[in-house]
Each structure stands twice: as C-alpha cells, then as structure tokens.
C-alpha cells in the first residue's frame, strides 16, 4: 500500500505540474485582462493538433514543434485580442461578458476541430528509450518525466519573466491595480495583447506536453482541460500566477493519490470536494487576495 501511495504521490506531482501549466496561462489571462477564457482547453487541444501535424507534415518532433507552436499561437492570441478581447475589456462587466463570448468561441473551435480533424482520437508518434525508469518500486514513464521537466522549465521561465523583468512586473502590476498602470506610461492595450498572446502560446505548448503524456486527444476534450484549469486557478487564487502552480500540484496530488484507493471517477470527485473545501475555508484561494480589484 505504501508503495502504491508513493507512486500516487509521484504521479500527483508530475500531473500536478502539467495542470499547473494549464492554470498559469489561464490565470495570467484572467488576472491581466479579467477575461474568463472558456476556450482555453480548445487552444490546448489545438496545440496538440499543431504538434501532430508538425510531426506528420514537417517531420518535427514534439519538442522541436514547441517553439513553432508557441510563436504561431502567440501571434494568433495577439491578433485575437484586438479582434475580440479588447471589446470585452471595455465592457462594464468583462468577467461575465467574456465568459459568454469565450464559451461561444469554445463551441465554435470545438465544432471547427470536429469538422477539420474528425472525431477520431489521435496520438503523437512519440516515445523515449527506455520507456520508463524505476526508482525503487516506483515506476515513472520517461515521457512523463520529460513532460515534467519541460513544465518545470517553462514555469521557471515564466516566473523569471514575471518576477525579474520589467514587462513581467508591469504585467503583475496590471493584475494588482489595472487603473494605475497607464499612469506610469504603459501601453495597456499592447501589453494586454502580448499577455493574451503569451497565454495562448503557453496553452499551445501545454497541448503538446499533454499529448506527449496522455495517450490520445480529440476535439472533445478541450472543455475537460478548461475545467481543470479553472479548478487549479480557483484553488491557487484567481489572478495569482504562482498560486496556479500550488493549485495545480494540490489538485494533481489529490486526484492521483485518490486513484490509488478509488476509481478515476471518484478521484475526480474528490478533486471537486477539495475545491469546495478550499472555497469554504479560503474563498479567495490559497494565494488569492480578497477584493483584488
């Protein structure tokens, strides 16, 4: 039992960091733009398709496809901001307006993916040698370890950007006091567009990582990722980039250790119980601040 629990804990950390990546990108978008990106999961799935077609058409390995997908998704995000999101930000109630619009975008993207890629599940032709490593009696697939490594590197780069660079600090400053940022001469529109591009770029890379780790993907799983993303950011604290990392690991640990004892469905259920418990005890999330705005 102890070995199984240990396996569950290790899996929890690995999966949790990937969940964290989903949450971080979603949280940056929400924190800066107050936009509830309900289509985030669809962009993650599109990232997976991006890696799939980069492999099929260009012969690129998923790792090499990451910068390309990040760039393309970043540019799409930048453009989409001016096309769609900017109008939502001007609304008196951007959270509710964006929730509805982004939910609509999620349905549209899901339908378009179904039309373009059909309903069949697909998987990347990607494996490593050896396929798994043994740490005592704990088995770890090497693809999961690679995904873990990539997630850690990306989260580290993002943390460096947010906490050590001036644009990153400006981005965090928007989260703290959106009204004040223009006073120091920051072009709010430009930085917001970059943020949306960054968020979608990260969603694209996350899609590649999940497609490397989980067996398959299809147009239908986008909303599952969106749901995970929202659980993670509510646990960690809405709008708090690093809170999402804590939220992701916590949710991953709860889910994966519960799987040791119960079925997958019950494990998911326990994840929601954890979410409700955190909301009851600390409504703003683990790292959130009440009345952020």
């Amino acid at each position: 039992m102890n070995e199984l629990l240990l396996q569950g804990l290790v899996n929890g950390i690995v999966v949790g960091l990937i969940y964290a990546l989903i949450g971080v990108s979603l949280n940056v978008i929400f924190g800066v733009l107050r936009v509830v990106n309900f289509a985030h999961g669809e962009f993650i799935v599109l990232g997976a398709y991006g890696a799939y077609f980069a492999q099929q058409l260009l012969g690129l390995s998923p790792l090499l496809a990451m910068p390309l997908v990040f760039l393309v998704f970043g540019l799409i995000g930048y453009g989409l901001y001016f096309l769609l999101v900017q109008r939502l930000s001007r609304s008196n109630d951007p959270e509710h307006a964006s929730l509805l619009v982004m939910f609509g975008l999620s349905l549209v993207l899901g339908a378009l993916m179904l039309l373009a890629f059909e309903a069949d599940s697909r998987s990347l032709n990607f494996s490593l040698e050896p396929p798994f490593l043994m740490f005592g009696n704990v088995i770890l697939p090497t693809t999961k370890l690679l995904g873990l490594g990539v997630s850690v590197v990306i989260t580290g780069c993002l943390a460096y950007f947010l906490y050590r660079t001036m644009p990153g600090k400006a981005l965090r400053a928007i989260i703290m006091n959106r009204d004040a940022i223009q006073i120091v001469g920051v072009d709010l529109n430009h930085l917001s567009a970059l943020t949306f591009g960054l968020g979608l770029g990260l969603a694209g890379i996350t899609g590649i990582i999940v497609s490397m780790i989980f067996p398959s993907f299809s147009p239908f799983i986008g909303q599952d990722y969106t749901l995970i993303g929202f659980i993670v950011i509510v646990l960690g604290g809405l709008g708090h980039p690093i809170g999402a990392v804590a939220g992701g690991i916590l949710f991953g640990l709860a889910e994966q250790t519960a799987m040791v004892f119960f079925s997958g469905t019950v494990a998911m259920l326990l994840g929601f119980v954890l979410l409700i418990a955190v909301i009851l005890i600390r409504p703003a999330g683990l790292f959130g601040v009440q009345n952020l705005r």
Partner: protein
C-alpha cells in the same frame, strides 16, 4: 525641472456618451507655477485632470503642451511626453516592492539601465523614508508613505507637467504639510503643477493662479492676488468655500 505651458481650450467631456461633465472649460498653467483648481463637489475638478492626462476623451476643444497639440494622444503617450499624474485614488501597486514601484515609474526610459539607476538613486535621496523601505511591499507602507511613493514615482521621470489630484486627502496633517511644501518646492524648481484640492485654504496658499469650476464650467480665474484684491472674486470664494483668500 523644465516645465512647459499647458493649456486647454473649450474642453467638453461626457461620461457614457451623454452625461456631460465638462462644458467649454479653459485653463492655462505656466512653468514654475502651481495652478490650483477649486470648486464645490461635482464641479469637475478631477475630471479636468483626467482629461489632461488622456484618461477621458474630449468631445470638443484642444489641449496643448509646450505649444504642441496633444488632444489626440492616449494616456500612456502623454506620460511619455512628460505629464505625470498622481490620482486621488491609491495608485501604488500593492504587491510590488517600493523599489519595483519606482522602477515601473521609469517605464518611459526602460531600456536605459544607467538612467534608471540614477533616477531611482536620486529619488531615494529626496525621499529617504522610501529608501529605508525599499524592499517592503507598497501595501506595508502607511497611507502617507504610499502617497509619497506615488509622488516619488511621478517625479522619477523628471516630468514637465505634474497633475496632483487631492494629494492630501485622508492624509495626516503633518504629512499633508510636507506634501504641500514639496509641491511648492517643485514649482519653484520650474515644474508646471496643476493641483486639485478640496482644502481651499492650503490650495490658495501654495497656488500662483486659481481656477474656480462650477458644474463643469469655468466660473472664475485669476492670480492669487486677483482673488485677494478683486471684491467680486473675493466674495465668490467666501460665499462658496467659506474662505477669504489673502495674499
């Protein structure tokens, strides 16, 4: 500090398209002077500052800075042009350190690391209390210290025009006195300062020129001497503000 003349002519502004808050307002502020804007609540004093800074769109009129028309510029562009704004509401970034708040104030010249270092060092020399709390989050400062941080951040770019909106609101009297002294001193060094203040006595005391607004319109304007010697102006202020301006 090298201030420049700032003027606005025939400015009209409306909220939500149809609620007119400024109608044909004109104002002229000179370098080396404090231009005070006074008036009853709802007169549009803060709106004037927000309009000068570009946070509100004008319906009519023009704003010139140093002879250049800046009416079409966005807020961030006006900040880059050398207008600094300290709004009435708290504008510090609470989770960032004092140093990082000042660092963001250097955004207009963010690529010039040497200038950033010099500007922040000079600011710390002027505001030793901020240097002592350099690593503290802004939220850990007292209300007065936060106000000093906002003013220091506005000054870090060596602005040409400084807009101060109720800088002493909710601030302890001792610190308020320091803020007024600092405001006067900045003008004496050549800055163009436009001050909105509910405290007519203090505003009149440090201003060189006063504008009175009523219901979004110019009611009266003149130098402090005009208000002290012109019987009509003197009575107007006495009636509205319950205060007589003396030179």
């Amino acid at each position: 500090m090298d201030g420049v003349e700032l003027s606005m002519e025939n400015i009209s502004v409306a909220y939500n398209g149809d609620i007119t808050v400024l109608q044909g307002v004109a104002l002229r502020a000179q370098p080396g002077e404090v231009t005070g804007i006074i008036g009853p609540n709802g007169a549009g004093k803060s709106t004037v500052l927000k309009t000068i800074f570009g946070l509100l769109t004008t319906r009519t009129g023009a704003i010139h800075m140093g002879g250049r028309d800046i009416t079409g510029l966005k807020a961030f562009q006006r900040a880059l042009e050398g207008i600094a704004f300290v709004p009435q509401n708290r504008s510090v970034f609470p989770g960032l350190s004092v140093y990082d708040n000042l660092l963001l104030g250097c955004w207009p010249f963010r690529k010039d690391k040497a200038r950033i270092t010099r500007a922040i060092a000079a600011t710390f020399d002027k505001f030793p209390v901020l240097k002592e709390r350099s690593a503290s989050p802004a939220s850990a400062l007292s209300g007065g210290q936060q106000r000093f941080l906002e003013i220091a951040r506005a000054l870090v770019t060596d602005p040409k025009v400084i807009l101060l909106d109720e800088p002493t609101a909710m601030i302890a009297p001792k610190i308020s006195k320091d803020i007024y002294a600092l405001t006067r001193s900045l003008a004496d060094q050549g800055a163009t300062i436009i001050l909105v203040d509910q405290n007519v006595r203090q505003c009149a005391a440090i201003s060189d020129r006063l504008h009175i607004l009523e219901l979004g319109r110019n009611k009266a304007e003149g130098t402090k001497e005009d208000f002290a010697t012109d019987g009509q102006l003197k009575e107007m202020v006495a009636e509205w503000m319950n205060y007589r301006i003396d030179v």
